[in-house]
C-alpha cells in the first residue's frame, strides 16, 4: 500500500471518528433541549389546556417531531429546531395567564350582573308564591306547585352559586347563577309574574 493510500485510509478513519464524536457530542445537548421544552410545557400545561388548548397542542406536536428526530439520532435537527419550540413552550404560561385573566374579567362582570338581579328575582317569586299559598282560590292558569318547586330549586342553587363565588370558583359561580336565573324565571312564568294581564280569578 502506497503512502498516499495509507494516508487516505487514516484520514477516512479519522473523519469517521470526528463525525461519530460530533454526533455523540450533540446527543446530550439535544436531550437537554428536549427536556427543557418538556419542563416548560408541563409547567404551563394545567392552565394552557384549559385556556389555550390549540396553542398547547401545537407546541406538543412540535415537541413530538423533535423527539422523533432524536429517536432517529438526528441531533442536529433537534438542536436546530429546539430554540424556537422552547420559546413557544415558554410563551404558553404567559398566553394562558392572559387568556385566563380575560375570561375571569368577563366572568366577574357576569357575576356582578347576576348577583345584582338574581336575588331580587328569587325574592319576588318567593313573595308571590307565599301570598298565593294563602289564597283560597288560586287564579286559573297559575301552576302554584310548579312555582313552589322551581323557587325551592332556585334558592338552593343560588346558595351553591354564592358558595362557589366565595371559594373563588368564578366559573362555577356564574354557571350556577345563570341556572338559578333560568329556574327563577321559569317559576315566575309558572305563577305569571311577568304577565301584562293578570290571570282571571278562578270562579
Amino acid at each position: 500500500m502506497s503512502f498516499r493510500n495509507r494516508f487516505a485510509q487514516y484520514a477516512l478513519i479519522a473523519f469517521a471518528g470526528v463525525v461519530l464524536a460530533a454526533c455523540a457530542n450533540q446527543k446530550e445537548p439535544a436531550a437537554t433541549a428536549i427536556s427543557g421544552i418538556e419542563t416548560a410545557v408541563n409547567a404551563a400545561s394545567a392552565d394552557a389546556s384549559k385556556y389555550i388548548p390549540d396553542q398547547l397542542a401545537d407546541v406538543k406536536s412540535k415537541l413530538g417531531d423533535l423527539k422523533a428526530a432524536f429517536d432517529k439520532q438526528d441531533y442536529k435537527a433537534v438542536l436546530a429546531g429546539a430554540p424556537a419550540i422552547l420559546s413557544s413552550a415558554q410563551a404558553l404560561a404567559a398566553s394562558a395567564a392572559a387568556k385566563k385573566d380575560e375570561i375571569m374579567k368577563a366572568l366577574s362582570s357576569d357575576w356582578t350582573g347576576l348577583a345584582a338581579s338574581v336575588p331580587d328575582l328569587v325574592s319576588a317569586v318567593q313573595s308571590r308564591v307565599a301570598i298565593l299559598s294563602k289564597s283560597k282560590k288560586v287564579p286559573a292558569g297559575i301552576d302554584l306547585a310548579a312555582a313552589k318547586s322551581g323557587i325551592a330549586d332556585a334558592t338552593s342553587a343560588w346558595d351553591k352559586a354564592k358558595a362557589a363565588f366565595a371559594a373563588g370558583n368564578l366559573d362555577e359561580a356564574v354557571t350556577t347563577a345563570k341556572d338559578v336565573k333560568a329556574k327563577a324565571e321559569a317559576a315566575a312564568a309558572a305563577r305569571k309574574l311577568d304577565r301584562t294581564t293578570p290571570a282571571p280569578a278562578a270562579k
Binding site: 328575582l121 301570598i131 289564597s135 287564579p139 297559575i142 301584562t196 294581564t197 282571571p200
Partner: protein
Amino acid sequence: MMAENDNAAKPAAAPAAIGQFHEVQKGDTLSKIAEKYYGDPSLYKDIFEANKDVLKDPNKIFPGQKLRIP
C-alpha cells in the same frame, strides 16, 4: 273607597323583569286587585303592605297610582 276612573282595571306592564305593577283604574279597590292577581280579595293587605310608601290607607287608592304587586 273606589278609584275614580271609568277605564277598566288593567295592570301596568312590569317596568323591569322583576316584579309586577298595577296601574290603578277607576273602580279599583285593593280587594279587587287582590282578587285579580291572587284569586282571593282577602289578600289585599299584602298589596297594601307592599305599597305603604305610597298608600296611607288601604281604602284610599287613586287612578294612575302604580302599585307593586308582591
